[in-house]
Amino acid sequence: MNRRDAVIVGAGPAGIAAAAVLAERGVATTLVDESPDPGGQIWRAPPPGVPEDGFTRSLSAHRLRDPVMAAFEVHSHQVEYLAEHIAYACTPHLALSAANGRASTVLHARALLLATGAFDRTVPFPGWTLPGVFTTGGLLSLVQGHGVVPEGPVVIAGAGLLQLLAAARLCALGRPPVALVEATRRQDLVSGGLGLWSRPGMLLEGARLLDRILVAGVPVLRGHAVVRAYGEDRLERVEVQPVDRSWMPLARAERILDARVLATGFGLRPESALARIAGVPHRTDPARGGLLPQHDERRQTPLPGLFVAGDGSGVQGAEIAVLQGRLAALAMAERLGADRAGDREHQARLYQDLRQRERARRSLDHAYRLRPGIWRTCTPDTVVCRCEGVTAAEVRRWHRRGATTPTSLKMATRAGMGRCQGRFCEATVSALCGEPEPDSPPLSVRPPARPVPLEALANHR
């Protein structure tokens, strides 16, 4: 049996910070990640030889990276780093299954941290499956990791900080988008900004990003949304409409923009598949991305020894993820008998800091929260489940026939049964059919959390 002391899934800000704390305390630590290199999406580095642009380096999430990565690298010789490993299953008894190429393994951990990050929350509209339509996070990782953006006019649309970041970064690299389409109206943002008075750094950075965009002459269409994408074999044009207070598109004053690339997203959703497969109870918090694993102040879930940290436990950004990763690691060290004198005080300080930052962040997330009218862009003929090609009309028809839980709708329509395992349609199905009863279980998620070749499962080490 492959026994391990501490296992961490995800080498982003939370996972890296946790690994450093554990290794510093002499805990044998295994770090499992899908990518070849540590950093996760937010700290994705360009390939060797490609310089990182100065604008990226100046952002707060990146200024945070250097000290956290440095602390990790000091102890990294003590960390077993399993790169390009897909963690695809997890039991309540902390057995983690991971596949690498054509082989797989099960790690039996004494303490397990899930720091699996997040992915874009998307709202479907006709044409959103056309090549050239990307999630905002996806476009950002292409720009940041490779400096690549497909040719032609770019439109950034949706709502949230990521939109601002993507637009500003494109400006900094000399490819300003032709428009930034933001559903949130100015007056709604003012309240979010006021809540940030205790964190002036965040306000300043937001202002800096916006300044970059305005100086480049990018039109910012506030209170607007992309309602349709047109094209034959790839995206050619998008239709933009103003939205009302609830983000419902108003079918007037529409305009057509030439676009070969569209980035769309409404914040992020936590990657919760492994926690759900393990059986961790979840609760819903729309401001933090949706379904979140339950945990205590020390980041432990109701399953003893199973911890969660970072955006995967509630989307709040890299700075908060680092604090959560450290908190989880201190509790894991204690569980493994490797805690040091003073660790309890250290935890208390971290927790105070975290609480304060979470409070400031909440007002911002409240300002950018998804308003229900935006689901009107998902017309009956719109594909809801990209994997299986299921339309909104089909989902509604089965809902009327009595398939009222997410799981029964999945059985009836196949929405959520495809390769992405419902990650991009789960929220849409709920929105189309009304939120399920409070006591009805969320969409069932089964292993493998990601598609894994059968050959890898058979070739078990």
Binding site: P48, G152, E271, R419
Partner: protein, 116 residues
């Protein structure tokens, strides 16, 4: 307009093949970055609807960027690194075994859609 916003001279180049055509890529980048930089966005047709598809999430979640890589099978372009001589093509109509599918096979007598 250019698709590569950062142009260092020092990065070694590799040559890959997409649908038989040679493409220049940069060592260390993903297959997705190489294809997009070459203007290839539609990398697959949806198995049921036949509609064109390409990368969407760019971070390994959505599976829309699946391509067929010789010797590896069906992989995500966004999580696969390029290497010299890599041969790839759209993933549709390709069975999960390493054998070429009927649609791609040179045998005209075998009807498309039957198992090999």
């Amino acid at each position: 307009m250019i698709s590569r916003l950062l142009r260092p001279a020092s990065v070694p180049r590799v040559t890959i093949r997409w649908k038989g055509e040679p493409l220049e890529a940069r060592e260390g980048e993903t297959l997705l970055a190489a294809l997009l930089a070459a203007g290839i966005l539609a990398t697959r047709r949806h198995e049921a609807t036949g509609h064109p598809r390409g990368a969407f999430c760019g971070m390994g979640v959505c599976m829309d960027c699946l391509v067929w890589v010789e010797g590896e099978g069906r992989v995500r372009a966004c999580t696969t690194r390029v290497r010299e001589g890599l041969v790839c093509r759209p993933a549709e109509h390709v069975s999960d075994s390493a054998a070429p599918s009927p649609a791609d096979s040179a045998d005209p007598d075998r009807p498309a859609g039957d198992p090999p």
